[in-house]
Symmetry: C2
Subunit: 424 residues, 2 copies
């Protein structure tokens, strides 16, 4: 046999896909299928579901004094040592199950490969992956099972990548190994034009562009970790989202050049629990935005959409003031309100109006770059249903609106139909 | 402050001593006490009790095909990756709890120190410990928490030392670090002259010699792992056995030169469930012992005491045959019987007599090296109670006898009294 290099494939299984030995076996069957197709396979595994939460719980308990009820701060390096053990367990078990099925495989911990990370324990970034040892083992016929979510920091200690980091491990390995594809097995079977629980005619996308996936992910379609999609886009790693539990074609996340027939809009995304805050008659002076959003950021409030109007619509005349409207997640509204009231003297505004009955709906599609009419079609479809638009924000491939939460499902269905997204 | 080296102490906590966060805190209080006394402390921890069994169970399940009921053989390297995670978790949690108490500490995995082992995964031996990095951290005021039971093999992968290996980790670290003492915290509070459940006047020994401890350990007093005592003896590491749960003085296991006032006998040990097997009229030819004990060993039977008589007592005359008597654990008697019956043609014997109603009682003491009367005193004490001796075996510091199991407790009490071991 010549030492010809086989094509490489990375396959990632999340926590629910390796929750127990039966599921690990089920995942291993999928791995064996790809091995039989002629790939050198690298499997990336998460911790068995529930495991990470248990370990994190222990860390919190360890860091809390027995006679106090506050949660202590803890040493993130020790958090990493404890929590990374979850993936270590799964990697060994998966290797054993594969061996049992006749697939030669070995486990690799992050520090063994090594996957070198930054020193920010608990939220480290992958900086380099030295694949020489893995590749040498491929040459001996040994497939790889890698503990996800972790690497080794500059201090020589285990560093974890933050929750959901196994997706990132998989994509980074696919890039470093030049893998043909990175398959992400999860508990959904692909990316849909919208949530099928709201629009039963929602269609599974065969392909979606990285940029679209990023917009969808940040809008709450929790299929893939945002960072992993960014990384895939940067290194042009083809990502396939697939079901662990059903044998169905998935969705390929890829470069837009790989997508032949492109709809103008690929999907309708939404976020149900939003709140709209308006500061009325803010003194419109240079630096006012910083004075508003500084205190919000310092208090951990993530601001999403921001709209600034010269003060005419509410007050009827130009008087050197402005109205500033922005949206936050419903869960952060009280924190936002407190921060703004505390900073009232510094900012200078007449009133704070909070509307906590709003939802956000967005249409996303790279096709709208070359198609100017998308926003107009969106507004018309909503108007036809009598849905009032409260705030509008646009990006290059997305138009988002805030509407009354009451009309959310109606709006999603109306837009899904208006852009012709339903299944054939 | 000068860079004066502080005295060093190793403290090991077993699984029941770190079974949950409350117990880890309890152990940490003991660590803090030694830190406050001025030691650079190295804590060695086992997995939380129950954890290792759970992990081993998963490994067995992973290696067993779903459609078969036999336990498969498994890759010991993957066993090690999975099972070693238990100690990794405890090491991080202990470091966090110590930090919370104001004791600067960090966890060390075997591969981080590194503790270099042989390549025999699952039962590796420690070959070298590079303490430079740990010692450097002592210089920065950082105490160490080491995951017990594991190191890194020549293949760069995690290698475990076998069950109970955390004791060995602790002793090896104490030797490598030149520690003043190695404290083993466990669920008993020391080593007793005999089992207090049988003789309530049993006395906790203040000190015991390594050799005595080895004899006691191999006789079933499961306080310390035999390998760890051997290692301590070889490197003259002073071992202290202490209770995790009560604040009581423990027992120091040390060189006999450290023991001033030495009783002739230090303790009475016993093993309740033994069996005696006699092969009658074995052809007494060269190589007969190998023909008998070969098949036993091949079938995993551990033979303990062995006595060979020229064939006179049972048959009444010298006829070129011999009777061979030996003892095995009761649990191995059927395996032994089957092996001997299968090899009957090869060995050549007239009958196999099995007595499965025996127990072993031993007196142990380094003092008997210079004191010839011990065996005689032992036989007299048993005779006085009318207890018949079935087999006798002696070593330099031990005399063991097999007796009827029925008289075990009586024999232990009689010997305990005969050698003056009771508490003052």
């Amino acid at each position: 046999m010549t030492a010809e290099t086989k094509p490489r494939l990375v396959m990632k299984f999340g926590g629910t896909s390796v929750a127990d030995l039966d599921r690990i076996r089920n995942a291993a069957v999928k791995v064996k299928r790809e091995v039989d197709r002629g790939y050198d396979v690298t499997v990336v595994v998460s911790a068995m579901s529930g495991r990470t939460n248990e370990l994190v719980g222990w860390v919190r308990e360890a860091a809390r004094p027995a006679d106090a009820d506050h949660a202590g701060l803890y040493d993130a390096r020790e958090y990493d040592a404890v929590v990374a053990s979850g993936e270590q367990v799964t990697s060994g078990l998966m290797a054993l199950v594969l061996q049992e099925m006749g697939v030669p495989a070995r486990s690799w911990q992050g520090w063994q490969i090594p996957i070198r990370t930054s020193g920010l324990h608990g939220a480290a970034r992958i900086e380099a992956i030295e694949t020489e040892a893995m590749v040498r083992k491929f040459g001996e016929g040994l497939h790889a099972v890698v503990a996800g979510f972790q690497g080794i920091g500059p201090d020589g200690r285990i560093a974890t990548l933050g929750r959901g980091g196994s997706d990132t491990t998989a994509v980074a390995l696919a890039a470093a190994l030049g893998a043909e594809r990175c398959d992400i097995y999860t508990d959904v079977d692909g990316v849909y034009t919208t949530d099928p629980r709201i629009e039963r005619r929602a269609r599974k996308l065969e392909r979606i562009a990285y940029e679209e996936m990023l917009e969808l992910a940040s809008l709450g379609a929790k299929v893939l970790q945002t960072r992993s999609v960014e990384l895939a886009m940067r290194y042009k790693v083809r990502l396939m989202v697939l079901s662990s539990f059903e044998d169905l074609p998935g969705t390929l996340v890829c470069d837009e050049e790989e997508i032949m027939e492109q709809n103008v809009v690929s999907g309708v995304a939404f976020s149900r629990d939003e709140a709209k805050l308006t500061l009325v008659k803010v003194n419109d002076q240079p630096g006012v935005a910083a004075r508003i959003f500084g205190p919000l950021s310092e208090n951990g409030v993530n601001v999403d959409m921001i709209v600034q109007n010269i003060g005419t619509d509410l007050t009827g005349g130009e008087d050197g003031t402005t109205d500033m409207t922005f949206s936050v997640a419903l869960s952060e509204v009280e924190r936002a309100r407190a921060a703004l009231e505390a900073a009232r003297g510094e900012i200078g505004y007449e009133a704070l109006i909070v509307d906590d009955e709003v939802a956000k709906v967005s249409v996303v599609g790279i096709g709208m770059r070359s198609n100017a009419g998308v926003a107009q079609r969106m507004f018309a479809a909503l108007a036809e249903e009598g849905i009032n638009i409260k705030v509008i924000a646009t990006s290059e491939i997305k138009v988002s609106v805030l509407i009354d939460r009451w009309y959310l499902e109606l709006a999603v269905r109306a837009l899904h139909e208006a852009f012709g997204l339903e299944a054939a």
